[in-house]
């Protein structure tokens, strides 16, 4: 707006309100605020807000009688199985990933130069990345029924979706990049049967892998489409288009996409 922002940044004002500045820094900001009453007013509002929020929610920071029961409720159900078998596979896969990621690097290095800028915003509303993003937004937010067939029936899921897609579908194992299968569902892609697979990491962060028949029968290199905080990595390989979508950092998504690419390639060959 004006040159005011050259001397004290917006970030510094927040750090001032949140008490992250040293005494000399505080003094500098305060001197500046004295000369900028409008900003000073805003800062006072933020301070009042913070005080009101703290006061309002402080009473909730309490333990309750049922807490112990809640925490121990799961104990007898057993813990997640972390088999040594899985960790060995994970290490092997991680080794392969480094190789594959290196091999794929050529496709997207130009895009990585400016990672915060959307590399490509797919124009057509029904393009593959757009469809993948819509599917992600609709299904990843489902708490109870994000998928039709869960990971516990993985073999059935692969057969069923593979048959509908008319494609030897192999469900990628993304444990090497920290994601486990939630399940999948049948979904329309390009007006015909497609498949959506959903994965989740240890913190509940989800991502989806969309597969759809590609009518144009062309190929593309890896591409990225961004919309809001949503990133989609997609590629078309002959008859099938693939799109990996998530609200995760781009380098994580890139690793996932590399892993999917490698494993899907394997399933076509077989």
């Amino acid at each position: 707006m004006t040159h005011e922002f050259n001397t004290v940044s917006e970030d510094e004002l927040h750090a001032y309100v949140d008490g992250y500045l040293s005494p000399p820094e505080r003094a500098r900001i305060e001197a500046w605020l004295d000369m900028h009453p409008a900003r000073a007013q805003e800062v006072r509002e933020w301070q009042a807000q913070a005080a009101a929020l703290k006061q309002h929610f402080a009473p909730y920071a309490r333990g309750e009688e049922g807490d112990r029961a809640l925490v121990s409720a799961r104990r007898h159900q057993g813990n997640a199985v972390a088999s040594s078998h899985a960790s060995v596979l994970r290490r092997i896969a991680a080794g392969l990933l480094i190789f594959v990621a290196g091999g794929l690097a050529g496709f997207y290095i130009p895009g990585m130069v400016a990672p915060d800028r959307p590399l490509e915003t797919a124009a057509s509303p029904d393009s593959l990345p757009r469809q993948a993003q819509s599917a992600f937004l609709v299904y990843a937010s489902e708490v109870r029924h994000p998928v039709e067939v869960g990971a516990d029936q993985q073999a059935h899921l692969a057969t069923w979706l593979g048959k509908r897609l008319d494609y030897g579908l192999k469900i990628p194992d993304l444990s090497a990049v920290g994601f486990s299968l939630v399940g999948g569902r049948l979904i329309p892609v390009n007006g015909t049967a497609g498949a959506m697979l959903m994965y989740e990491d240890g913190s509940g962060q989800r991502l989806t892998v969309l597969l759809g028949r590609n009518r144009d029968n062309r190929e593309t290199s890896f591409r990225i489409a961004s919309q809001g905080g949503l990133e989609t990595f997609y590629w078309i390989d002959g008859e099938i288009g693939y799109a990996v979508t998530g609200e995760v950092p781009r380098d994580v998504l890139r690793k996932v996409a590399g892993e999917c690419y490698r494993q899907f390639e394997g399933s076509e060959a077989s």
């Binding site: 917006e10 949140d18 929020l53 309002h56 909730y60 997640a80 509940g204």
Partner: protein, 184 residues
């Protein structure tokens, strides 16, 4: 696996009746997690619901915990649960913001009403902006911590914080013109 134990003894490894260190750790976090869940939720029951989902997930995934900073890990799980629940709402923040402008001014001297007004104003924030605001202001996380917990760049944390503060101020101001606009 060894089959030479009888059933009653088979659950060796962990004492099934005593809580272990992990559970004690989670138990110790309950007050902070309860406050955080309530600060994200629309009502007390909504908050308890979110808290229970979170605890369930934390316990189910204890094998995935890397052994450092249980608190941040649990807060991350809570944040993701909340985001998954409200993602569709976050898509239409403008619509909700417009609605917020229609809020009726209420008596700011009466505390229950003031609280209610604050709650209603918070409900107009997007899930993303709200969680950043609460993590910073109430839970005392540093900007860098929030960036790591939400897996977003620190610049995004700052812009969300900024948006949350501005929107909240705007909404509150709309119903509270006299108290917040000081005569100069």
């Amino acid at each position: 696996m060894s089959q030479d134990r009888d059933g009653s003894d088979a659950s060796a490894g962990a004492d099934a009746s005593a809580p272990d260190a992990f559970e004690e750790g989670v138990l110790g976090l309950m007050p902070a997690l309860r406050r955080y869940s309530r600060s994200l939720a629309r009502s007390d029951s909504d908050g308890e619901d979110l808290l229970q989902d979170c605890i369930e997930k934390v316990l189910a995934r204890r094998q995935q915990w890397r052994g450092v900073n249980l608190r941040a890990w649990a807060f991350t799980i809570m944040t993701n649960l909340y985001r998954n629940r409200h993602r569709h709402r976050a898509l239409h923040p403008e619509v909700e913001y417009e609605e917020a402008l229609g809020l009726v001014a209420e008596d700011q001297n009466a505390d229950p009403l003031q609280s209610r007004r604050l709650e209603r104003a918070l409900d107009r924030l997007s899930a993303e902006n709200r969680s950043v605001l609460m993590l910073v202001v109430i839970e005392g996380y540093r900007y860098q911590d929030v960036a790591e917990m939400m897996a977003i760049p620190i610049g995004t944390v700052m812009s969300r914080l900024s948006r949350a503060r501005r929107q909240l101020a705007e909404i509150m101001k709309d119903g509270n013109v006299i108290a917040l606009r000081r005569p100069k």
